[in-house]
């Protein structure tokens, strides 16, 4: 091994260590920012080392790639609104997948990968990279509502199976005849098609699962590309990302009480007949009356959902928190794992609105203390506080862990109107004795409450 080769490999070892330290520091919000910076230093080191590679004779293409990609990334990172983070992460997952797919193809064309094992990993990087790319584009379109309401094709199951079979056959033919460009081309095409078919049937409420899974795939694609070109830093970093996405996927599935295969494939099934409708009367409350209840409360829990982000209400929510605290009440937030469109989305939105992170409690922390809460305020959340998950066995969400707001003395539900939530399920919470509905735009309602305090 030439001496600069040894130098490059040593730099990769250090970079791997820095990635691992970076993730370790992500274990607490107090050290997380430092962790991200350590990880970035690791990346810089790895890239600098890679540029020393003796095979590089012309830096112009590399420089052009850096400039274009770096500029796009920097602008996107500065401009993106926190409400749009799910779309951005989805899009970035897709870019990662496409990059690995391109590396896989280039490795074959340049005969970097020639053994059957290397070609097998090329096929994997094309398959995973391709699925990640088109799947992420569909997910991005669904999240940003640019693709409208895409539904599964009429005979989607058969089409998907046929394409999956085609992927396997073309991959095998590619391994047998790597010189024939046709099989490589077919493999790329079918992998891209498979990604579209995989994500199209999945509904909006299941997006946290999809986006986590694609996050994992983007890492696994990098990992496969690492095998294809025999580069161990790609394998280390790729598998760290792959592991991260898999864990988040598991957490999301558990929070919805569904298996991954149920999330991925239930879109093919016929819709379930709606359960018996709930009898009862909703009790509306005016903002003024709500203020009197809140003024007397000594313990308040706020449960936000995606509706809070849609109404852009997070800043006024924080103002209300400050007023309630000044009034002597203890205020905490209860965050369900699947509130929002991606894991941890609510936390970022509230952090942006200057809510201290130590007030953001996870579901398992807030549920045991719900009995002692005077007022629970539900803002733009529905399914994650639906008691039907505990009480109604015929409900499609039966068994899903929810935040038990109905155990609080009084529940305020801020809601635009009496339509059911994303999952289209009736919510018995609205009819409970201790529930009061405050109809209207969440931001206006809270602004009204703040005005009452002044």
């Amino acid at each position: 091994m030439a001496s600069e080769q040894i130098g490059i490999q040593l730099a990769y070892v250090i970079a791997s260590a820095l990635f691992i330290f970076g993730l370790k520091y992500l274990g607490s919000p107090a050290t997380a920012r430092k962790g991200n910076q350590i990880s970035a230093v690791g990346m810089l080191l790895a890239v600098l080392a890679a540029l020393l590679d003796q095979g590089i004779v012309d830096y112009s293409y590399i420089l052009a790639g850096f400039v274009v990609g770096g500029a796009v990334g920097a602008v996107a990172a500065r401009k993106v609104q926190m409400t749009s983070m799910p779309e951005m992460v989805a899009l970035f997952n897709g870019f990662g997948g496409l990059a690995s797919l391109a590396v896989g193809i280039a490795a074959v064309l340049m005969a970097v990968a020639s053994s059957t094992f290397a070609l097998f990993t090329v096929a994997l990087s094309i398959l995973i990279g391709g699925v990640t790319f088109t799947g992420s584009i569909i997910a991005w379109g669904k999240l940003s509502e640019k693709l409208g309401n895409l539904k599964a094709l009429a005979n989607q199951k058969n089409v998907s199976l046929a394409v999956a079979g085609g992927v396997i056959v073309s991959a095998l033919l590619f391994l047998a005849f790597p010189e024939t460009g046709l099989w490589l081309f077919l493999l790329v095409l079918l992998s891209l098609a498979f990604g579209i078919l995989l994500v199209i049937p999945i509904g909006g409420a299941d997006m946290p699962v999809v986006i986590s899974l694609l996050n994992s795939y983007s890492g696994l694609a990098a990992c496969a590309a690492g095998f294809a070109i025999g580069n161990n830093i790609l394998i280390v970093a790729g598998s760290l990302v792959g592991a991260s996405g898999i864990i988040l996927t598991q957490i999301m599935c558990k929070a919805m009480n569904r298996s991954l295969s149920n999330v991925l494939f239930s879109g093919f099934a016929d819709p379930v007949e709606a359960a018996a409708s709930i009898e009862g009367e909703v009790k509306p409350l005016s903002v003024e009356d709500a203020f009197y209840v809140l003024e007397a409360a000594s313990s308040v829990a706020i449960i936000p959902g995606y509706g809070m982000a849609v109404a852009q209400a997070q800043h006024v929510v924080n103002e209300l928190r400050e007023l309630l605290e000044k009034n002597g009440a203890e205020v905490v937030f209860g965050i369900h794992p699947v509130a929002g469109r991606m894991p941890g989305h609510m936390n970022v939105l509230l952090a942006e609105a200057d809510v201290p992170y130590d007030l953001l409690l996870e579901m398992d922390e807030i549920n045991p203390r719900m009995d002692a809460v005077d007022v629970a305020i539900v803002i733009g959340a529905n399914d994650v506080v639906n008691p039907a998950a505990r009480e109604v066995e015929s409900s499609p969400i039966y068994g899903m862990p929810v935040i038990n707001v109905d155990n609080a003395r009084t529940v305020f539900v801020l809601k635009r109107s009496m339509a059911s939530g994303f999952a289209g399920i009736d919510n018995p919470l609205f009819f409970k004795d201790n529930t009061r509905m405050i109809f209207g735009d969440a931001k206006e309602t809270i602004t009204g409450l703040i005005r009452e305090f002044d």
Binding site: S39, A50, G55, A74, A99, C223, S239, Y357
Partner: protein, 93 residues
């Protein structure tokens, strides 16, 4: 033999990954994902060698495209993660 060596690395990194990520609190899951986006841009390291052949053929262009795409992830991913993490403050802090 090299394949076995690479699989050894894969196996160990996956175990390390699981251990580390399990300790990340739910409140940081969005920055974790965007930070993972940045790390998955590691493909840039593999892509530079393919983009630097100077042959101007298809493989060269694919390499350059991969460098650009992965750079979006690296630069955008680290920057947006930093932007988010800077917003997380403790009470009174």
């Amino acid at each position: 033999m090299e394949a076995v060596f690479l699989m050894f690395i894969l196996m160990l990194s996956i175990f390390v990954g699981f251990e580390l990520i399990n300790k990340v609190p739910a409140t940081l899951h969005t920055p974790l994902m965007s930070g993972a986006n940045a790390i998955s841009g590691i493909t840039v390291v593999g892509a530079v060698a393919l983009a630097g052949t100077g042959r101007g053929d298809l493989a060269n262009w694919l390499g350059a495209a991969a460098v650009a795409l992965a750079s979006i992830n690296v630069v955008g991913g680290y920057m947006v993660t930093d932007r988010m993490l800077a917003m997380f403050k403790k009470r009174g802090g």
